[in-house]
């Protein structure tokens, strides 16, 4: 192992590869900041460029782009409430309210420090535990994955519902319904396509996220412009505030980092779970860890509410490389794109990658740590410049948000049907948001819909149609009991209050 680490360090620290990490992080940050262009798009765009490189150099570049895009995504979440990637949706819960309070600089600094800490800690975990951790993920079976996804959705519904769990659960179901549009993955049977070819591939994630977040945000800003109580204030650069954190703020941030790193890394290791579930679960977990006073601040600009998901999503990024590198199973959509790139290089990831290509395995792991350092050095000094987007008057900012949203969706398909669908979803979502129907549960459900159906399919086929798979294994039972606990807690909350 030591020999492998040294080989990895030697490869990662070569001038060419160091440059690749820096270029990757920078390009990733810029691309990730643009709503609609997330890490998946960013990495996909890099694939043709990397074909001319050695496999390790190409992978290092893509890993840098991945980290940069995740950080860039959280920047746009905080500044304009437009998460380009699902992994940064949870960051917007508190990041955007904090920016609206004139503390955008602090929110961005917390995101940068937490990303660095989460990424660094998980890179160390990855270095030490990569081989043995793959065994943990091997012990998870379809029923456990199915249970874990229900747990993620229930948890998100519970803590993003502003006291109305049923509204959030309706949004979960709506998200799953949207995900079910298109051809069935196994049989290719069209579902809910109404003989429209444009729907046969389903609805794209970028379309739904742009419609329900960026576009809805823009429409709500105009819609409520006359409302003296709810209109968002025009943000000026003077409201950016300091990027320096005081002792109490630093203490709060540091408290959430270790637990969110561990959670993020473990969730990231599980194939299919990835940064999105990690960030949502970390947000929920953090809310339960803090005291009642701090709990009230969640959703209104809590420091822990930014630090936890940011730490976890970066930790999960590192974690998601474990199944990719050791099992050949992508842990997320983004690592699935990377798997495609690896196969393009003629490399088959799996347990033998250690022996056959140690320089690739270890150099990617080492470059992750270097990437974290680069991100901190690159992003923190740039925060005042990045935050200048806040100084844009609303009359310009809103059309520009709409422009990036429309362009992001148009670039996916070059089809105006997607534009109409996005406008339709955005108009409906604007009204839903007006009456406190939360959008994050819808997005998470939409992302997990396909995986959830796949795991339910496998579980039911294995158990010959019986639902006993939910209590056959201790691990599934624990997950299901946790779900029952969350639902019970919500019922208690509902009936504990005075009804009107």
């Amino acid at each position: 192992m030591i020999e492998g680490i040294l080989i990895g360090l030697q490869t990662a620290l070569s001038f060419k590869n160091l440059m690749m990490v820096m270029i990757g992080c920078f390009a990733g940050t810029i691309i990730g900041m643009l709503p609609g262009l997330g890490p998946m798009t960013a990495i996909a765009l890099m694939i043709p460029i990397t074909y001319g490189f050695e496999p390790s150099t190409g992978l290092i570049l893509m890993a840098g782009v991945y980290y940069g895009a995740v950080f860039g995504g959280s920047t746009s979440s905080i500044l304009i409430n437009a998460p380009g990637v699902p992994g940064t949706v949870a960051t917007s819960f508190d990041g955007y309210p904090m920016a609206q309070q004139g503390k955008a600089g602090k929110a961005l600094a917390i995101a940068a420090y937490s990303s660095f800490a989460g990424g660094t800690i998980s890179a160390i975990f990855l270095l030490i535990a990569a081989p043995s951790l793959s065994l943990v993920s091997l012990s998870f079976r379809s029923p456990d994955y199915f249970g874990l996804m229900i747990l993620g959705l229930t948890a998100v519904a519970a803590f993003s519902s502003k006291g109305n769990f049923l509204k959030a659960m309706m949004m979960v179901v709506l998200g799953l319904m949207l995900a079910s549009v298109g051809q069935d993955t196994l049989s290719d049977i069209p579902r809910f396509t109404f003989n429209n070819m444009n729907l046969s591939d389903g609805i794209s994630f970028v379309l739904v996220v742009m419609a329900t977040f960026a576009m809805t945000e823009a429409l709500t800003l105009i819609f409520k412009a006359k409302d003296p109580t709810k209109a968002a204030k025009d943000i000026s650069l003077s409201q950016l505030g300091s990027i320096k954190l005081n002792k109490i703020e630093t203490k709060k941030m540091i408290a959430s980092i270790p637990r969110s790193s561990v959670l993020g890394f473990i969730i990231g290791v599980l194939p299919g779970a990835g940064a999105t579930i990690a960030s949502f679960l970390a947000y929920g977990m953090e809310r339960n860890f803090v005291n009642d006073e701090e709990k009230q601040k969640f959703g209104k600009g809590s420091i822990n509410g930014i630090a936890a998901p940011e730490t976890a999503n970066n930790a999960a990024c590192s974690g998601s490389f474990v199944p990719l590198l050791t099992l050949g199973i992508p842990g997320s959509g983004t690592t699935a794109v990377m798997l495609g790139a690896l196969l393009g290089f003629g490399i088959q990831p799996g347990p033998r990658l250690y022996q056959t290509n140690p320089e690739i395995f270890w150099s990617v792991i080492m470059s992750m740590y270097i990437g974290m350092v680069v991100l901190l050095i690159l992003n923190l000094p740039l925060i005042p410049y990045i935050a200048r987007v806040l100084a844009t008057p609303r009359t310009f900012l809103i059309p520009l948000i709409l422009f990036f949203s429309l362009t992001g969706v148009y670039l996916m398909s070059f089809n105006n049907f997607d534009i109409y669908m996005m406008i339709g979803i955005a108009v409906v979502a604007t009204f839903l948001r007006l009456y406190d129907f939360p959008m994050p549960p819808l997005i998470l459900a939409f992302v997990l819909g396909g995986l959830m159906e796949e795991n339910l399919r496998r579980s039911l086929l294995i158990s010959d149609g019986s639902w006993s798979f939910l209590w056959d294994r201790p691990l599934t039972v624990i997950i299901m009991l946790t779900i029952i606990g969350i639902v019970g807690w919500q019922i208690k909350k509902k009936f504990g209050k005075k009804s009107v």
């Binding site: 765009l45 043709p48 502003k162 006291g163 109305n164 049923l166 509204k167 309706m170 179901v173 709506l174 799953l176 319904m177 079910s180 069935d184 196994l186 049989s187 049977i189 579902r191 809910f192 823009a218 429409l219 105009i222 819609f223 409520k224 412009a225 409302d227 003296p228 008057p393 009359t395 809103i398 059309p399 709409l402 422009f403 429309l406 362009t407 148009y410 670039l411 105006n416 534009i419 109409y420 406008i423 108009v427 604007t430 009204f431 007006l434 009456y435 406190d436 129907f437 959830m452 339910l456 399919r457 039911l460 086929l461 158990s463 149609g465 509902k494 209050k497 005075k498 009804s499 009107v500």
Partner: protein, 156 residues
């Protein structure tokens, strides 16, 4: 009887879930899959029932946190104006091309929102879109079909 807007939305969702469930039952599956423990319509059927269940619960149970929105203070004019502009953008993008339709969409949006600083309006439209197109088309090799620029001989 007065029904709250949230309950009205839940009622609409209940009807939508009913229609979704009906459509889910109409999904044609292969004959050999009809009696399988899981086929293409199993998951959508569960979802339809889940939608009916949660929306019915919301309609039946008393509201603990009713959301009150003052509809009189909402700016319908500008919002509808922007939605119409986006639809027009969708109608023109394939015919007029990305450059022209996007630039005109941006100019019209700034004006609808009340912006009158023409230097900024013109800067953040045609030149801004041109730079963005150069980034996409020139540097990232993302082809953008543009009949207008092709007619001018700028793009191939």
């Amino acid at each position: 009887m007065k029904i709250s807007p949230s309950k009205l939305i839940s009622l609409l969702f209940f009807i939508f879930s009913g229609y979704y469930l009906y459509t889910a039952y109409q999904i044609q599956v292969f004959a050999f899959d009809e009696n399988a423990p899981f086929n293409a319509k199993t998951f959508p059927i569960y979802l339809g029932f889940a939608g009916l269940f949660f929306s019915a619960l919301y309609i039946i149970l008393p509201e603990t946190n009713p959301t009150n929105v003052d509809l009189r203070v909402l700016d319908y004019k500008k919002t509808i104006g922007l939605v119409i502009l986006m639809i027009l953008y969708g109608l023109t993008i394939l015919r007029a091309g990305y450059f022209l339709s996007t630039s005109i969409f941006l100019i019209a949006s700034y004006i609808v929102l009340g912006e009158r600083k023409w230097i900024w309006i013109l800067t953040l439209s045609f030149p801004f879109v041109a730079i963005f197109m150069y980034l996409l088309h020139g540097l990232l090799n993302i082809y953008l079909r543009d009949p207008f620029l092709k007619y001018l001989g700028i793009m191939g």
